[in-house]
Symmetry: C2
Subunit: 415 residues, 2 copies
């Protein structure tokens, strides 16, 4: 039987060159989060399916959910997002923990959706949250952290924009327009598609939800207005903008009422970071405040604000702006090749490799006797930093030579 050697549809293989890029992205994420005092956690790959059905929204918690049954007949799902899982974890420790809780994780997820550019079925995400603070300072910190995550990759000026809005503005408007709580979720889901659908399609969808022409007109006017509304929700956003301006992020932030976010659980500030490159004009990631989820697991609820960038969109951003080449250079390790130039030197070569590794060097060993020319070819093909030359002559003189593969220079080292 001959099987396909390609990965399943919607998934990707990371050969070492690709792995280095992803690992670099993850290590930047980790560093920036740690700089803000966030602690890393991880949850199981699978959860009870019901926790997604309860709160993830119609697609992620519905038809896109990958489910199966375990031996006990429990219906489990591969996690399609982190928020329900991390909420479950926080519910175990919330009462006893020092608050606020600042947590992050880097994990893989799966959604059974149609694969498209930037959205694979399996993807990796950083999830970064503050639990236990209702202060607007939490919003400011989360947005600053998201901005620093982007800036840490040293992108050009104006390469991205953080667009901010708030579900509170919608709530205030719904209340003014007498849109019922029952209609609110459906209306928010339509508004989330504001830039993807035509005005006609939006209007049609809102009519289906039961809105009247006047209500639709008012919603439309809100969505097209670039000024912050003069409401309590608007005043909160104003505070956030002022703080970020003062911290030096003015050129990267913008109020945008069309930012709504797809998950039903957002109930405060929401944001998305957009790539401004003409070839990759898209939302890179987003997040916001979601205070209601804790109650899922019984007892009280708690304030929460967070966000979740994905590896694939981050990579597309870096690619758009020509930042990948530098990453590949920066992450190359100094690996030396130590060939076995004479079969009689086997034991001596193995001992030398051991000694070099113990001193912290990265040494790849030749497993079979090899002429120096072949050894140099091998090191060259693999892009290694140098070749350690240790033949009969060097052994007699109790030394070895290091040939630098970039410059061709040889350095003598005594054993």
């Amino acid at each position: 039987m001959k099987l396909s050697n390609q990965p399943p549809k919607g998934t990707a293989d990371w050969l070492p060159a690709e792995f280095k890029i992803r690992q670099y992205i993850f290590s930047v994420w980790r560093q920036v989060c740690q700089r803000y005092g966030y602690e890393e956690y991880l949850t199981p790959l699978v959860e009870s399916a019901e926790i997604y059905r309860a709160k993830s929204g119609e697609e992620v918690g519905g038809k896109e959910l990958v489910t199966f049954k375990d031996f006990g007949g429990r219906e489990l799902s591969i996690r399609p997002e982190m928020t329900p899982s991390v909420t479950r974890l926080v519910s175990q420790i919330y009462n006893s923990a020092a608050k606020p809780i600042r947590w992050f994780s880097i994990a893989n997820f799966m959604r059974n959706e149609k694969p498209q550019r930037g959205r694979n079925r399996e993807f990796w995400q950083l999830n970064c949250d503050i639990f236990g603070s209702s202060s607007l300072a939490a919003e400011v910190e989360i947005l600053q952290l998201a901005l620093d995550l982007m800036l840490e990759f040293k992108p050009p000026k104006n390469s991205f924009t953080l667009k901010i809005s708030s579900r509170v503005l919608l709530k205030e408007l719904f209340s003014k327009l007498k849109i019922s709580d029952k209609q609110a979720t459906a209306v928010a889901r339509v508004l989330d598609k504001w830039k993807k659908l035509s005005p006609g399609a939006i209007s049609e969808s809102l009519t289906k939800v039961g809105l009247a022409k006047e209500q639709i007109k008012s919603l439309s006017s809100f969505m097209n207005n670039q000024q912050l509304p003069e409401t309590p929700g608007g005043a909160d956003l104003h505070f956030i903008f002022q703080a970020l301006n003062d911290l030096g992020y003015k050129n990267y932030i913008k109020y945008d009422p069309t930012v709504v976010r797809g998950f039903d659980y957002y109930d405060g500030m929401v944001f998305e970071i957009f790539d401004n490159h003409k070839n990759n004009s898209r939302a890179l990631f987003g997040g916001g405040r979601y205070n209601g989820l804790g109650a899922l697991f019984g007892g009280q609820s708690w304030p929460a604000v967070g966000f979740a960038p994905g590896d694939e969109t981050m990579k597309l951003f870096l690619e758009s702006w020509g930042l990948l080449k530098k990453i590949t250079e920066d992450t190359s390790r100094a690996v030396y090749y130590l060939p076995l130039l004479e079969a009689g030197l086997t034991k001596a070569v193995w001992r030398l490799a051991k000694a070099l590794r113990q001193s912290g060097q990265q040494v790849e060993l030749g497993l079979e006797p090899q002429k120096i020319g072949k050894a140099l070819d091998y090191a060259n093909k693999k892009g290694l930093s140098g070749v350690i030359i240790f033949g009969q002559e060097e052994a007699r003189k109790k030394m070895y030579k290091i040939k630098n593969m970039a410059t061709g220079k040889e350095t003598r080292v005594n054993l």
Copy 2:
């Protein structure tokens, strides 16, 4: 609806304290592999179910396999092991790559089995392999790497033993005893349980496979003999033992014919590392040579040798020998708490946090105004390294103080 806040059966939550231990184990694995010149890769979380059915052995590729269907009706499995996946990857590049290929990965897996101490349904493994070398030097390197992985945790002397055997010895014996190729796989599976089953149960199982009393007696005598047989297979193992002795590992290695390994695909040297602690007497991990798998994906096959330690058994080993406490101490980060001591200083405190982070410090910010006593309590409860004191007086003097939480000492720093 109130949902359970516990993880699904057979899985585990890693809160930050637990995450640090796992991350420490992973970072040791990564460092040691890189020291030997191995490159990291990753495969998708899921694979076509048929690749496991074809080669993983009766349990892992059978009743323990977690499967589901994607939108296209393809039957997929969450990976229960890495070997079929990495073989698939290697088949994409084998012909064009410089050989040998040295690769490793650190990934999570799932098997729908009965959870027990050291074996959860979801688990993490390091997979470490050399592809493309038939030289015994590859066996020596892989065993040395496995030994160094253990020794890197600085365990006490005699805390573990690497037990080595070879499927070639079994093959030689089967040929001598006229055990057919058809019977061989079933016989090897029985022999793999040698230490778990009683002699009577072993005998019964072998009789079921169709072996005669004389054949069973010869097998039994082989399994109980601590001397290397004088066969070509025995000579190969002798070479390996000599090389490892010469490299200084003599006290950690031993020939043991009862090491067989559960996977059908092993066809040369096999090994297992055993914890010698009386409270955790168990195989920690193992591996061996498996040359036949490449053909699964069409075309030629290639030589391969590798191994795969798991996170949970490694943690149990560290726990048995009292090594976890030191790890927790070694991995604690220097995180400082910067409280907001006066509401009027909000902007100044935020700017100070930004500056400190830009200089590489890890700074957790107080989000709401707080008295110094509360701030110290918070830092103490969280086990942070220090508190940065910046109130009205410090602001006036353009300085801040760092209070070391361990010693209580205060250091003044000018802004």
